[in-house]
């Protein structure tokens, strides 16, 4: 028996595949492990060229490797995949040894599939980890939010570049001093208190404080932060909301200014009316005394005229005060109100005038109930219906259509009549003005439309007019829901 065969026989129980390959590339001898791992019977193995067992991608590599080793007596192992009878790919480490006195070589193949797999999965994990890490790193570096880790001693230990961008300090500068140094002096106490909470394990949401930039400008930050139990490190994310705050402050300032201006205006109206009313009240009483004294007919006429003038003046001032009062005193409580009921109430109030003019009021409320101020809604109905009655055409019986419908997020209320109409080309911009009248009607005070416009606008709505002389007038009111 040849040595090599003895060698193989001795290694029957070896886990490695051991074989002798002859010059023609056929197995001469093989241990049983071949059958165990590759599923071929011994006879099969001896009847096919060994290369057919090699993964087709590895065949030329295997051939070259074997040749090189046979020529140079290099015994370095190399990796080649074999295909089992079932088609599984199995990684082997091949060791080729020339057998001096025989043609052919000794081939030992170690199954390294497991090892190879393990290695590749570790590699894959590593790659995935690196990728994840890079993504996190990118997220950290590119974030517009300010991200930080700080230690229990009150120093920043990690900062993303946004910090330097926002505060103007270098990262080192920011890490060299306790972070409280960079907090606005007025907010330090709050910040300390808030930071202390974290050691109880509280996660901070929406804590707001101010930092100062290197140039001393205020930066407003909204914080979310969590402490790690075991290290006491705090992970924080802050958003720079300075722009929004500035905007808010600007709006607030404008609002305050407006409120002050409005108050001023109100006071002005009261003071003016007060200062005017005192002498007017006196004129009233004095003319009364005059009337009671002996007067000539001419003097009597003058007294009458003075009295009338004083009355008009007094009334004007009362109206002016009423208008000012709209803005504050009237019941502004918003509640659900039925349009139909409001209409009926107002009709009752105007019943005399309705009978007199034989007016017809047609309603079609698609939206029957709205949230509004009861006083304002009544005022709208009263003013618009009584206007329609006042300025009806003598040529036809007045018809007033009132309708409501929902358009997007608002309710549209329409009052339409067939009355005298207003020449909008002439009066267009004055229709809703204070004490504007457009008809030769002694009772017209020119207040109704002015008042309802103020009321509607006070509740963020709008009113528009459309009118044609001797055809009628249409008012469109938009009520914000």
């Amino acid at each position: 028996m040849k040595t090599s065969s003895v060698y193989i026989k001795k290694n029957v129980l070896n886990n490695d595949l051991i074989t002798i390959v002859n010059d023609n590339g056929y197995f001469v001898e093989s241990n049983p492990q071949w059958s165990v791992l590759l599923g071929y019977g011994k006879k099969e193995l001896l009847s096919i060229p060994y290369l057919t067992l090699v993964h087709y991608e590895d065949r030329s590599k295997a051939k070259q490797a074997i040749e090189r080793r046979l020529q140079t007596s290099n015994s370095e192992p190399f990796k080649i995949r074999l295909i089992s009878k079932m088609g599984d790919i199995i990684w082997f480490e091949w060791i080729i040894t020339k057998i001096g006195y025989e043609e052919g070589f000794l081939l030992i193949a170690k199954d390294i599939t497991q090892k190879k797999l393990e290695k590749s999965s570790v590699e894959a994990d590593l790659i995935a980890l690196k990728l994840k890490n890079r993504q996190l790193e990118d997220l950290f570096n590119l974030s517009q939010d300010l991200i930080t880790i700080s230690n229990p001693e009150g120093y920043f230990t990690k900062l993303n570049p946004q910090w330097s961008k926002t505060l103007g300090y270098t990262e080192t500068e920011l890490m060299d001093s306790p972070y409280l140094t960079f907090v606005h002096p007025d907010d330090r106490q709050n910040t300390v208190a808030e930071a202390a909470k974290q050691f109880d394990g509280t996660t901070i949401f929406n804590f707001r404080n101010r930092y100062l930039t290197k140039t001393g400008e205020i930066v407003w930050l909204d914080w979310n932060a969590t402490a790690l139990d075991h290290t006491g490190e705090v992970f924080g994310i802050a958003r720079d909301i300075t722009k929004a705050i500035r905007q808010e402050q600007k709006i607030e300032a404008t609002l305050q200014e407006l409120i002050a201006k409005n108050k001023q205006l109100e006071d002005y109206a009261y003071i003016t009316s007060h200062n005017l009313r005192s002498p007017v009240a006196n004129i009233f009483m004095l003319t009364k005394f005059l009337e009671d004294s002996t007067l000539t007919k001419e003097q009597m006429n003058y007294t009458d005229m003075i009295k009338n003038s004083a009355e008009v003046l007094n009334k004007t001032m009362k109206d002016l005060i009423n208008v000012v009062q709209i803005n504050e005193s009237t019941d502004m409580t918003i509640q659900n109100i039925s349009l139909q009921e409001t209409c009926i109430e107002v009709k009752r109030q105007l019943s005399a005038k309705i009978m007199e003019t034989q007016a017809k009021i047609i309603t079609n409320f698609e939206i029957e109930e709205i949230s509004y101020s009861i006083a304002y809604l009544r005022s709208i109905f009263l003013n618009l219906i009584s206007n329609s009655l006042k300025y009806c055409s003598s040529k036809r019986k007045p018809v007033i259509y009132i309708s409501s419908e929902k358009i997007n997020n608002r309710v549209q209320l329409i009052f339409r009549d067939n009355g005298l109409g207003i020449d909008l080309n002439k009066y267009g911009d004055k229709v809703f003005g204070f004490r504007k009248t457009f008809h030769k009607n002694a009772n017209a005070k020119g207040l109704g439309l002015f008042i309802i416009k103020s009321q509607i606008e006070a509740l963020k709505g709008t009113i528009a007019i459309d009118s044609e002389l001797d055809k009628g007038t249409k008012f469109t009111i938009n009520i914000v829901l």
């Binding site: 007060h274 005192s278 009240a281 004095l286 009062q325 005193s329």
Partner: protein, 133 residues
Amino acid sequence: MIKENHILCLIDDDNIHQFIIKKIVHKLSPNQKLLVFSNGEEGINFIRSTIGKIEKLPDLILLDINMPVMDGWGFLDEFITITPDIKKEIIIYILSSSENPTDKERAKKFELVSGYLIKPINEEQLESLLENV
């Protein structure tokens, strides 16, 4: 009927209004006693100085709000401090041309103010006021 032994008091800086009130009061009751002061300080000084003489203190005060030196509010604040010493019931009405709701609200906060009248006040109003003293 108006009781002539009652004393009426007007505190108002407006000369013409003083004249008007005098005239109406005279017309209603020619012998009615009427004290007139041009501002709150004059009014409070008089009351302080006559505090013990019940028969000389007014029964009804008509008080204007806007006045120089001491306005109506100032008068009321002072008046409150001396009320424990006044052994007479004195009725006070605000008589002002101010329709400012702020003023009306402020007046309501004074318990000793019986009402808020707006100028001009006519004969009938004044008559009923005097009758109710």
